[in-house]
């Protein structure tokens, strides 16, 4: 199967690879997937406490090229968004942007899950109720 140019670009030049200090109150960490399934994404956001804007986002992903590209793209989209805006990112937006074929849709689902998991981690750390997440699976 051939990868789209955008997937190849994110794979070759992944944006925002790295690690934020998970102990910081402003940082939310989402770790989704499992090694035995062949995909693990860790997505982190750092949120400005005043404006609730995501000022930084980092990821690391174990998975295929589409999984790496989906999480790389997610960090790019997250930066500068408010938490409320970030929650609106839908996996199908990622599918469309990266032209993922049907067999790779699960990679985009995982990226959306990672975003929501990171937001919830941040919410819990900041004394907010975790959001109820719809189960995709």
């Amino acid at each position: 199967m051939a990868y789209s140019d955008k997937v190849i670009d994110h794979y070759n030049n992944p944006r925002n690879v790295g690690t934020l200090d998970k102990n910081k109150k402003e940082v939310g960490t989402g770790l989704v997937g499992a090694p035995e399934c062949g995909d693990v994404m860790r997505l982190q956001i750092e949120v400005d406490p005043e404006t609730k804007t995501i000022i930084d986002a980092k990821f690391k992903t174990y998975g295929c090229g589409s999984a790496i590209a989906s999480s790389s793209l997610a960090t790019e989209w997250l930066k500068g968004k408010t938490i409320d805006e970030a929650l609106k990112i839908d996996n199908m937006d990622i599918v469309e942007e990266l032209s993922l074929p049907p067999v790779k849709i699960h990679c985009s689902v995982l990226a959306e899950d990672a975003i929501k998991a990171a937001i919830n981690d941040w919410r819990i750390k900041n004394g907010l109720e975790p959001l109820k997440l719809e189960d995709h699976h």
């Binding site: 794979y11 090694p35 035995e36 062949g38 992903t61 174990y62 998975g63 790779k104 899950d113 995709h136």
Partner: protein
């Protein structure tokens, strides 16, 4: 050196130019039907087929009358398993095979199970070898066939065929082997190895695709299979259909070349394979060779690069063509059933890459591959959360994974 480099010779091999040359006249001026008995066009084709039959038989130390041409190993396997099940129906209804067999064997057996036959699937140890005692214990007075592959396509593990056939045949049961990956690569001898039925394929031995053969023993014992296709009764009634003369000529030539070159070629390939494997496994941390290193085809190396997913890695080494036990593309997300059968955990199975060297692999290509793979693994580990966690000493079994 041409890029991309082909290191997937277990999937298929390029056609040897000498094979192509032998085939060409049979597409053009020598186009006859080998079954046309009344004119020179037919005789010419028949002669070519007879010659190819000898070339094939010679490679496995068989008699040419024991070779049935098919469209490939898949068809040969189907014919052998289903044909024996049907022919020996009165004798019994039990077949024994192995969990790491090719799908052609496993799915033929599943088909028979749906028809009410019984099948035992023997497990393998971590090297990919079956246990001989377990085999002996599995044979009953209803067993009609034991099918054990000669060498595995994913890991290259070679079964102890001689000991297996001794056990099987001493119990009066037929022994079949899918030797698709072994024939032409290592010595295969149907007499010394005690084989009653053997499946092989052209495109794994630098011959054409769409042609293969089934060896069916004619004496001690005389083996019969029921045809699985009805038609003109070609191939002594076992496989109807006008013979694929150019393909058969190619298969024959491929066998002849393989036989001539095997002694030097297997040594050359083992040296290159060992160079590659040694370099990758000693310079990259957390690498694991899958399957037996001792009982193995000379040209195969299956390595898991822990904390890097196989398909992701393949994308990073796009200048070399390899395959992976990962299954990120399949709906089930299940990694290779062969690696799982060895007891390789799912995580390492997802991280596996099969390097399959071949006749046209050069040392220069291996020298290119080594640093190329090293760099890709290092780069992907920088992006891998698992690598970071491993380096921090995180116990993976205590992490609450959100599996999907």
């Amino acid at each position: 050196m041409k890029i991309p480099i082909y290191l997937d010779n277990n999937a298929t091999t390029p056609l040897d130019p000498r094979v192509l040359e032998a085939m060409i006249p049979y597409f053009t001026e020598k186009f006859g039907n080998a079954a046309s008995r009344n004119h020179s066009f037919g005789w010419e084709a028949e002669e070519a087929v007879d010659y190819a039959r000898e070339q094939v038989a010679k490679l496995i130390n068989a008699n040419e009358k024991e070779i049935v041409f098919t469209s490939g190993a898949t068809e040969a396997i189907n014919l052998a398993i289903k044909g024996v099940a049907e022919m020996y129906e009165k004798k019994g209804d039990h077949i024994i095979t192995v969990v790491t067999e090719h799908k052609a064997v496993l799915d033929s057996c599943k088909h028979l199970e749906r028809l009410g036959k019984k099948v035992t699937y023997l497990p393998v140890n971590k090297e990919g070898l079956i246990d001989l005692n377990q085999l002996a214990d599995a044979i009953t007075d209803k067993t009609i066939l034991v099918s054990v592959m000669y060498a595995n396509n994913e890991i290259g593990t070679i079964q102890n065929i001689r000991e297996i056939s001794k056990i099987v045949r001493s119990r009066g049961v037929l022994f079949m082997t899918d030797a698709t990956q072994a024939v032409g690569k290592i010595p295969v001898d149907v007499e010394a190895d005690g084989i009653d039925l053997l499946a092989m394929s052209g495109h794994k031995i630098y011959g054409p695709k769409g042609v293969g053969a089934l060896y069916v023993r004619r004496k001690n014992p005389r083996v019969k299979v029921t045809a699985q296709m009805d038609g003109g009764g070609h191939e002594r009634g076992m496989r109807s259909g006008t013979l694929n003369v150019p393909g058969i000529v190619g298969l024959g030539k491929a066998c002849e070349i393989a036989q001539q070159e095997m002694p030097t070629e297997s040594v050359r390939l083992a040296k290159l394979r060992d160079k590659l494997e040694h370099a990758l496994t000693t310079t990259i941390e957390e690498t694991y060779v899958n399957g037996s290193r001792e009982h193995r085809l000379p040209h195969v190396s299956n390595i898991s690069f822990n904390f890097v997913e196989g398909e992701g890695l393949m994308m990073g080494i796009k200048n070399i063509a390899v395959s992976s036990g990962s299954a990120c593309t399949s709906a089930s997300l299940e990694p290779s059933y062969v690696l799982k059968a060895l007891g390789v955990n799912d995580e390492l199975a997802h991280s596996s890459i099969r390097f399959g060297l071949g006749r046209f692999t050069t040392e220069e290509e291996i020298d290119y591959t080594i640093p190329y793979v090293q760099q890709a693994v290092a780069r992907l580990r920088e992006v891998s959360p698992l690598w970071e966690m491993f380096k921090e000493g995180v116990d993976f079994s205590k992490v609450e994974w959100k599996a999907h």
